[in-house]
């Protein structure tokens, strides 16, 4: 039986796809058979971040509508044999997904994989609800910014009422907070919510803290998930996150500011290299 983890946020553009790609890759690198599914039907992105866009033939919608088998649609990752990608369709819309169809696909995948990572679309509508419905755990991606935190709280509300676990009165979906695009210098300057504040407001466990990092854009340019860049701060922070998901106790890194000169502090320059 696979563990199903949804990567979700409510707000768009906060780093869900970046995180889903990194976490799935990290789990596979640690020896787990992992599949990552793009639920963003109509706006697929995950294939680009995973660097497999030219190998997409069939997609999730084809499988659900019986136009292709799972094995035809699954793409094996170039770098890790434990990792597969199930892309989203670019031409259909979200209505092409059905609850029964998604249930069947997840059920079939559960037999062969240890982890199923679902990359949710933005929003709190049908597409996002389908991506979270069957989840055992949820990684709630949040930026240190008011609208992102508010949307994360909305998503937490949905997880506790509109998931299968909630509807069947089973143990609730295990919720994890993943703070991304964190800039400790701006936190020190008092212009960015700090991680303790966010954790306190949302009242869920922190699974990871990913700094704002230039390595992320570099990685997406190349189509190589940032966790492969093990020299980078973001790559290491994602590796820590994966360890925690696997139940290890790893200290938090990248939460405090790098030393800056007095002048820089006075004028509030906060770019991280």
């Amino acid at each position: 039986m696979a563990k199903i983890i949804v990567v979700t946020s409510g707000k768009g553009g906060v780093g869900k796809t970046t995180s889903a790609a990194a976490i799935a890759t990290g789990l596979a690198l640690r020896g787990n058979k992992t599949v990552v599914i793009d639920f963003d039907v109509g706006l697929r992105n995950l294939d680009l971040i995973m660097g497999c866009e030219r190998r997409v033939v069939y997609d999730l919608v084809n499988v659900i509508q019986g136009e292709a088998g799972l094995n035809q649609a699954l793409i094996r990752d170039k770098r890790s044999e434990n990792l597969h990608i199930l892309p989203a369709s670019q031409t259909r819309d979200k209505d092409a997904l059905t609850l029964e169809g998604v249930e069947k696909v997840l059920g079939d995948l559960s037999e062969d994989f240890d982890y199923i990572i679902c990359d949710s679309p933005a929003g709190i509508e049908r597409g996002a609800q389908l991506a979270m419905y069957f989840a055992d755990e949820a990684v709630v991606v949040t930026n240190p910014e008011v609208s992102s935190v508010r949307d994360s709280d909305r998503i937490l509300g949905l997880l506790s009422s509109k998931s299968r676990r909630a509807e069947q009165n089973r143990d609730p979906v295990k919720e994890h907070l993943l703070i991304t695009r964190y800039n400790p210098n701006r936190v020190d300057d008092g212009d960015m919510l700090n991680l303790e504040d966010i954790r306190e407001i949302l009242a869920i466990d922190l699974i990871g803290l990913i700094p704002e990092s230039e390595a992320v854009l570099r990685a997406s340019n190349q189509g190589v998930p940032v966790i492969h860049d093990d020299k980078s701060d973001a790559g290491q922070a994602y590796a820590d996150t994966v360890s925690r998901l696997m139940g290890e106790d790893v200290p938090l890194r990248f939460h405090s500011a790098q030393k800056r000169g007095l002048i820089a502090r006075m004028f509030g320059g906060g770019a991280r290299r």
Binding site: S160, V187, D191, N194, D197, I201, G268
Partner: protein, 84 residues
């Protein structure tokens, strides 16, 4: 650090303003969690009915649903303006 604060002007840090706002928003959102989907509509329509008789503000009405094992209580609080 005092000197720095002084030089930068003693405005309230924006992050603490953000935190206070979020605490209020989240408390409000959580108060509405798990309620039936019709609650916002019910609240709006009740407000309209009340307004046919008394002029009240949008936030003067507070509605909540509490459920015990075998019965639910719909609680409605309306703050009426002072009689002037």
């Amino acid at each position: 650090m005092r000197l720095l604060d002084f030089l930068k002007g003693e405005r309230k840090k924006s992050a603490s303003v953000a935190k206070e706002r979020l605490q209020i928003i989240v408390a409000h959102q959580r108060g509405h969690r798990g309620q039936p989907d019709y609650m916002p509509m019910l609240e709006q329509e009740l407000l309209e009915v009340i307004r046919r008789y008394v002029q009240v503000e949008q936030d003067a009405i507070n509605i909540s649903l509490d459920s015990d094992n075998d019965c639910s209580v719909l609680e409605l609080n309306v703050t009426l303006p002072n009689r002037g």
